[in-house]
């Protein structure tokens, strides 16, 4: 009887110990794995072996890139970042490969800009439009990597009652938290309190189709490009008017955003962007990914 009890006790203790040991082991292996992963994504661009040797002389350039914005920056089947913005960044990294070591990390949209604050990233890539509030805290690139067109108000193709924000007064408009369209709508509400629209927050654009067709949202504000792609994805359920949600002097460019003080990086990358635009790489990438050339400013 006593023996049996001892045996059981020893068994239960052994169980705990093995559990803890396994966990510790898995913890250790975990860390090595993740660093290997980030390295592989960083040196995907070019001379993988050379990067390691010369790493000491190169400046590390930490790129935070969106993971849920098809086709600009999203994850492929192997969870590696891909998309138009990513390929532009890779083309730049080839140009600047001697000076910088590019480390690309995919992350959720809402975590990108704050990653600049915390020093996690030097540059955030998520097809950022220009807003004065962002420009206060961050450094904008001077060169756009594409022009996404003016911001339009999109609505179900069966509707005729909405033409502009004034006609959408009191109506529900879907927007993503922290996005350009949110800031445009908030600005509208602030300036036109008697014609305010109702903001409905959505996590990402995948729910727009359901929301618009079911009537949950009256409208959706996005760049012309976004509206076109969204509508096309679901058999043209949405249309938009000529009304420009942004101001007419707005250049509707998509920019890389840097942390304040990263001026040197910004200038180097902008210079590379100009080269890419001139040698036709940007145009080619735009045609591959976006189906047309979006690299010229439509308002210029």
């Amino acid at each position: 009887m006593k023996n049996k009890f001892q045996f059981r006790k020893a068994g239960s203790l052994a169980l705990v110990l093995t559990m803890i040991l396994t966990l510790l082991a898995s913890c250790g292996s975990k860390n090595t794995n993740s660093s290997a992963e980030s390295k592989s994504s960083s040196s995907q661009s070019s001379e993988a072996s050379a990067t390691k040797v010369a790493a000491g002389e190169k400046t590390k350039l930490k790129v935070g890139i969106g993971n849920m914005f098809t086709p600009f920056c999203y994850l492929d089947d192997d969870d590696q970042p891909t998309g138009y913005d990513y390929d532009v960044m890779m083309a730049i990294s080839e140009k600047l490969g001697d000076k910088y070591e590019f480390v690309v990390t995919p992350d959720d949209f809402s975590n990108l800009l704050i990653g600049l604050d915390t020093g996690k990233y030097d540059v955030a890539v998520h097809h950022f439009g220009y807003t004065a509030e962002r420009a206060e805290n961050y450094l904008y690139a001077k060169e756009a990597d594409m022009y996404f067109g003016n911001f339009r108000i999109g609505f179900s193709k069966d509707r005729t009652d909405i033409t502009d924000l004034a006609s959408a007064a009191g109506k529900t408009i879907a927007t993503t938290s922290g996005s350009m369209s949110e800031s445009l709508l908030l600005k509208w509400n602030e300036e036109n309190p008697d014609q305010a629209v109702k903001l409905q927050y959505i996590k990402d654009n995948t729910v727009v189709y359901q929301g618009i067709t079911s009537g949950l949202y009256d409208a959706f504000v996005g760049s012309q490009y976004d509206l076109d792609t969204l509508s096309e994805q679901y058999d043209g359920f949405m249309k938009y008017s000529d009304y420009n949600v942004t101001t007419s002097d707005y250049d509707c460019g998509a920019y890389f955003v840097y942390s304040k003080g990263s001026d040197a990086m910004q200038q180097d990358i902008d210079a590379a962007l100009v080269e890419l635009r001139e040698d036709g790489t940007l145009k080619a990438l735009s045609e591959t990914w976006l189906g047309a050339d979006y690299t010229e400013n439509p308002n210029a």
Partner: protein
């Protein structure tokens, strides 16, 4: 490091949504209590057919992450609302349905199993002798349940249910995944202009913390109160 101004903005927004979170959690609790009691009764009294269904459903619901339930309920709701209303011949506009109720429905689904389990334990805690006593004085089964069993069950489940309120309040922080405003989402939206998310999350955590402490103190008081009355009766 932390910007006090941004922090206060977020804190103010977070505080203003406290009623919203409380409303959602209390409504959820109410729904779970009603449905949970029915499910618990079916299981305790071994109602044929219904018992295995309840067993299966509760086990399933308990096994799903709450944010996933929220997302699925939300998507299913938007997809099926109009067709169902058309089928029923009801003229209803989906916009008149406040998303808060969709959130409450989803939270109820994912909290049902836990609440039902508490009620089941409460029902089981009432001794067999109580039923026999009821029948002996000539009460019907229904009368015995409502006049004798239920009051004792309620007294037994109130202390553990006050604990559930804390879990429910915490669960309401997930409604932001379907865009419903709450303490956390309010703090974040206030931070969107300047991306002051650190301040926002600290503010939200602080509000939840204070709320949680108050709920804990209240539930401890309730517990003491009820254990005292049990003693007096005994």
């Amino acid at each position: 490091m932390l910007n006090l101004g941004y922090f206060l903005d977020s804190l103010k927004a977070a505080v203003s949504y406290i009623p919203q979170n409380l409303f959602m959690s209390l409504m959820t609790l109410l729904i779970c209590c009603v449905l949970g009691t029915l499910a618990a009764m079916a299981r305790v009294y071994q109602v044929p057919v219904i018992k295995p269904i309840c067993d299966f459903l509760l086990a399933l619901l308990k096994a799903l992450p709450q944010n996933l339930v929220l997302l699925i309920v939300y998507l299913v709701f938007t997809i099926t609302f109009s067709p169902i209303m058309a089928f029923l011949g009801v003229k209803a506009n989906i916009q008149n349905v406040d998303m808060v109720y969709v959130a409450i429905a989803a939270l109820s689904i994912s909290s049902l199993a836990g609440v039902s389990e508490v009620i089941r334990a409460g029902l089981l805690s009432v001794g067999k002798g109580q039923y026999e006593a009821g029948y002996t004085v000539g009460l019907t089964a229904g009368q015995t349940f409502f006049h004798i069993i239920l009051p004792q069950t309620i007294r037994a489940v109130i202390p553990p249910l006050t604990n559930s309120i804390l879990s429910l309040v915490k669960a309401t922080s997930l409604v932001s995944v379907i865009g419903v405003m709450d303490i956390m989402n309010g703090a974040i939206v206030a931070a969107n202009t300047y991306y002051s998310y650190i301040e926002a999350y600290v503010a939200a955590a602080l509000v939840f913390w204070v709320l949680g402490i108050i709920i804990e103190i209240a539930s401890r008081k309730v517990e003491i109160h009820f254990s005292r009355s049990v003693k007096q009766l005994a």
